[in-house]
């Protein structure tokens, strides 16, 4: 009782089951993942919907999920009338999907009734009607205040009751009654022939909405499909949509999102390889873009993806690695050999691996699993390695549509994704499954065979919205990571491996030679300068010697002149001469004497 009381007020706050965007026809949300998207809001409210399918196609589960979601998510109680399975069987069967029928029944959100009729116990005398069934349904509806009703394989009545004419007219009456009561009803029906919707043709009573469930096996792998055959008064998706039944019930996968209107962030993230970032306009990849790394076997696709993951984790972003070929341990070990240690990121919870062979389930299962893992982990980087393995489980067409959906989904989430793709040798640019047009950046890896060896090369085949290098770069895996090397162009194109090395050596030799030559010249100059300087010294010495001599001569001759004059004076004195010049000298000299 306490539970019931608690549930009453909360039902007011529950979201309204009818979607706002369907103006014309009121719809009742199924709560089934993806179905409301296709139907534009759900099943027609207050009207019957026929769900038809072969044995094991998930009809009963569809009905039950419709009720359970209605009761738990939209506050609409429901009635389940089972004509085939007993209540305890039903409860057990759906318990594995996380639906607790007993609890819902106890909370009066659901009423389950098992209508068990066995022909062998029956006798028939005269006319009858199905008022008893009507009363049971009406009673059940009234008990829980149901807005939704599921009649699980109503057609069982045809098998068990005599006089099909009466059954038909009574079923017609039942549908009218359900419509009048404005109960959103799901009627399941068995389909045993491909050209008929139902075994007993009850689709003629249900004119509003018909959904076909299909379960087919192709190449040993089962896929479930859902198609809306008709939906009166409403637009709807007309394709066959794959759907899955797993531990959370039914999930329908719309082929593609309604519009291409995801954001395009201008933010750039590093690819983890510095020189690759350089090739991509120097800034790396756009956040939220999808990158394809395709190449033949052993070209290093996984390594590039691992570099990217490593870089993301270094930034503190979360990364999710879908490995369809190797186990996580193997990837971690292999990447360690080139100096990329992913284990710390796993331990820190930044990196999660999801490793499984896609053959485990169908392609839809793979897609759904990826969806679920992405939704629960919320990574900013995702690696799908390799997408080509998906071709093992499905046709090209399906893989392509699946990838379209995945890419759309990832883009709307703003997740940067690297898809690796194994291409057959010789068809390099024809990516498997034609996924290239979905991708924003395409890195092509290839082996170049030159001079008896194979070397890895990488180039950017396309990269939307950024300038990118048109060069082919060789890349080598070293002990400390992946390195992109310089381009060496030779006569046969890009030089790689030992051809590159010899070219490198040649270039080194040329450089050395030039340097040596330069050195020689420099030395010569020096020598010349020294010679010149030596000569200069010599000349100066010579000059100085000469100068000395000349100076000496000059001073000598001066001295000589003085001596001559002196001598002459003395001669005058001694002769007492009277020449004017001598008189002065003589008077002066004489006077003291006088």
């Amino acid at each position: 009782m306490a539970q019931k009381k608690a549930s009453q007020p909360s039902s007011k706050t529950l979201p309204k089951a009818s979607q706002p965007y369907s103006k014309t026809l009121p719809k009742a949300s199924t709560g089934i993942q993806g179905l409301d998207e296709i139907t534009g809001g759900g099943l027609p409210r207050g009207r019957p919907t026929l769900v038809s399918g072969g044995a094991g196609s998930g009809k009963t589960l569809f009905g039950l999920e419709f009720l359970v979601r209605g009761a738990t998510q939209f506050g609409e109680p429901g009635v389940f009338m089972s004509f085939e399975e007993s209540i305890s069987d039903l409860t057990k069967n759906v318990a594995s999907l996380g639906f607790d029928l007993d609890r819902l029944v106890a909370e009066k959100k659901l009423f389950v009734d098992h209508v068990s009729i066995t022909r062998s116990e029956f006798g028939e005398t005269g006319e009858y009607d199905l008022e008893g069934l009507f009363i049971r349904i009406a009673d059940a509806v009234q008990r829980v205040g149901a807005r939704r009703v599921v009649l699980d394989t109503l057609e069982a009545l045809f098998g068990e009751l005599p006089n099909p004419g009466i059954v038909r007219s009574e079923i017609r009456r039942l549908f009218n009654w359900l419509k009048q009561k404005e109960l959103t009803t799901v009627i399941t029906a068995e389909r045993d022939q491909p050209d008929k919707l139902t075994r007993h043709g009850i689709e003629e009573f249900v004119s509003d909405c018909v959904i076909l469930l299909d379960h087919r096996i192709r190449e040993e792998i089962s896929t479930r499909r859902l198609r809306i055959v008709k939906y009166r008064g409403s637009t709807h998706g007309t394709n066959e949509y794959p759907f899955l039944i797993d531990d959370q019930g039914i999930s329908v996968l719309p082929i593609s999102s309604l519009g291409l209107n995801h954001d395009a962030p201008a933010e750039r993230v590093s690819s983890g390889i510095a020189r690759l970032d350089g090739m991509l306009g120097g800034k790396g990849l756009y956040r939220g873009s999808s990158i394809l790394a395709s190449g033949t076997a052993g070209t290093g696709k996984t390594t590039i993806a691992a570099c990217f993951v490593d870089a993301a984790c270094r930034r503190g972003d979360r990364a999710l690695f879908f490995a369809f070929e190797e186990s996580p341990q193997q990837i971690v070990r292999n990447m360690r050999s080139i100096g990329i240690d992913l284990e710390p990121w796993v331990r820190k919870g930044l990196l999660q691996f999801h490793a499984a062979r896609p053959t485990y389930g169908g392609i839809e299962q793979v897609l759904l699993l990826t969806h679920k893992r992405i939704t629960s982990f919320q990574p900013s980087v995702v690696v799908v390695d390799p997408v080509t393995n998906l071709l093992m489980v499905s046709t090209q067409n399906e893989v392509r549509s699946m990838l379209t959906r995945l890419v759309d989904f990832l883009k709307t989430q703003g997740i940067t994704t690297i898809f690796t793709s194994l291409t057959a040798a010789g068809a390099l640019e024809a990516s498997e499954a034609d996924v290239s047009s979905l991708m924003d950046t395409w890195l092509l890896l290839k082996n170049i065979e030159v001079g008896g060896e194979r070397n890895r090369a990488l180039y950017v085949l396309k990269s939307r919205g950024m300038e990118h290098s048109n060069q082919i770069r060789e890349f080598v895996l070293t002990d400390d990571g992946l390195r992109l090397l310089d381009v060496y162009l030779g006569a046969e194109g890009v030089l790689t491996g030992s051809a590159r090395m010899s070219q490198e050596m040649r270039e080194k030799a040329v450089v050395t030679f030039r340097r040596q030559e330069l050195e020689t010249r420099r030395r010569e100059l020096e020598r010349k300068r020294r010679i010149f300087e030596a000569r200069m010294v010599m000349l100066r010495a010579e000059f100085e010697a000469e100068e000395e001599i000349i100076q000496q001569t000059i001073s000598e001759s001066e001295l000589l002149g003085q001596e001559v004059a002196q001598d002459r004076g003395q001669m005058v004195l001694s002769r007492q001469a009277d020449s004017s010049s001598y008189k002065k000298e003589g008077r002066a000299k004489v006077a003291p004497v006088r």
């Binding site: 009734d113 209508v115 068990s116 009729i117 116990e121 029956f122 006798g123 028939e124 005398t125 005269g126 006319e127 009858y128 009607d129 199905l130 008022e131 008893g132 069934l133 009363i135 049971r136 009406a138 009673d139 009545l157 009751l161």
Partner: protein, 111 residues
């Protein structure tokens, strides 16, 4: 209980109903519809003829007690259920065909 009942039933048949068993019949109807009234009348006539003095008819109107429909798995109306003697037998329809009703109830003519 069932064992003793089958014994009594066996005695009914062979020693020509020396110890008569009371037949418990239950007729499900939904309101006073012509079909229901007709069925009840037919049943009454048959019982008077073949089971005089050793039958009980319980008339259940599902309009008044809808929850009772689940117990006997009632889908069609009218439905006649033979509760006793065992095994349970169910007959649907307005009981207009008396031959089929006799066969259905496993009721042989008492000579």
């Amino acid at each position: 209980m069932p064992i003793t009942k089958t014994k009594t039933r066996a005695r009914v048949r062979k020693p020509a109903a020396r110890k008569p068993v009371v037949w418990k019949l239950r007729l499900y109807v939904a309101g006073q519809t012509p079909k229901s009234i007709y069925a009840f009348a037919n049943l009454k006539v048959l019982c008077e003829e073949h089971l005089k003095g050793r039958y009980q008819i319980e008339l259940i109107d599902l309009r008044k007690n809808p929850q009772l429909a689940r117990g006997d798995q009632i889908v069609a109306i009218p439905t006649l259920v033979r509760k006793l003697p065992l095994p349970l037998r169910t007959i649907i329809g307005d009981l207009s065909n008396s031959v089929r009703l006799l066969v259905g109830l496993d009721l042989r003519k008492v000579d």
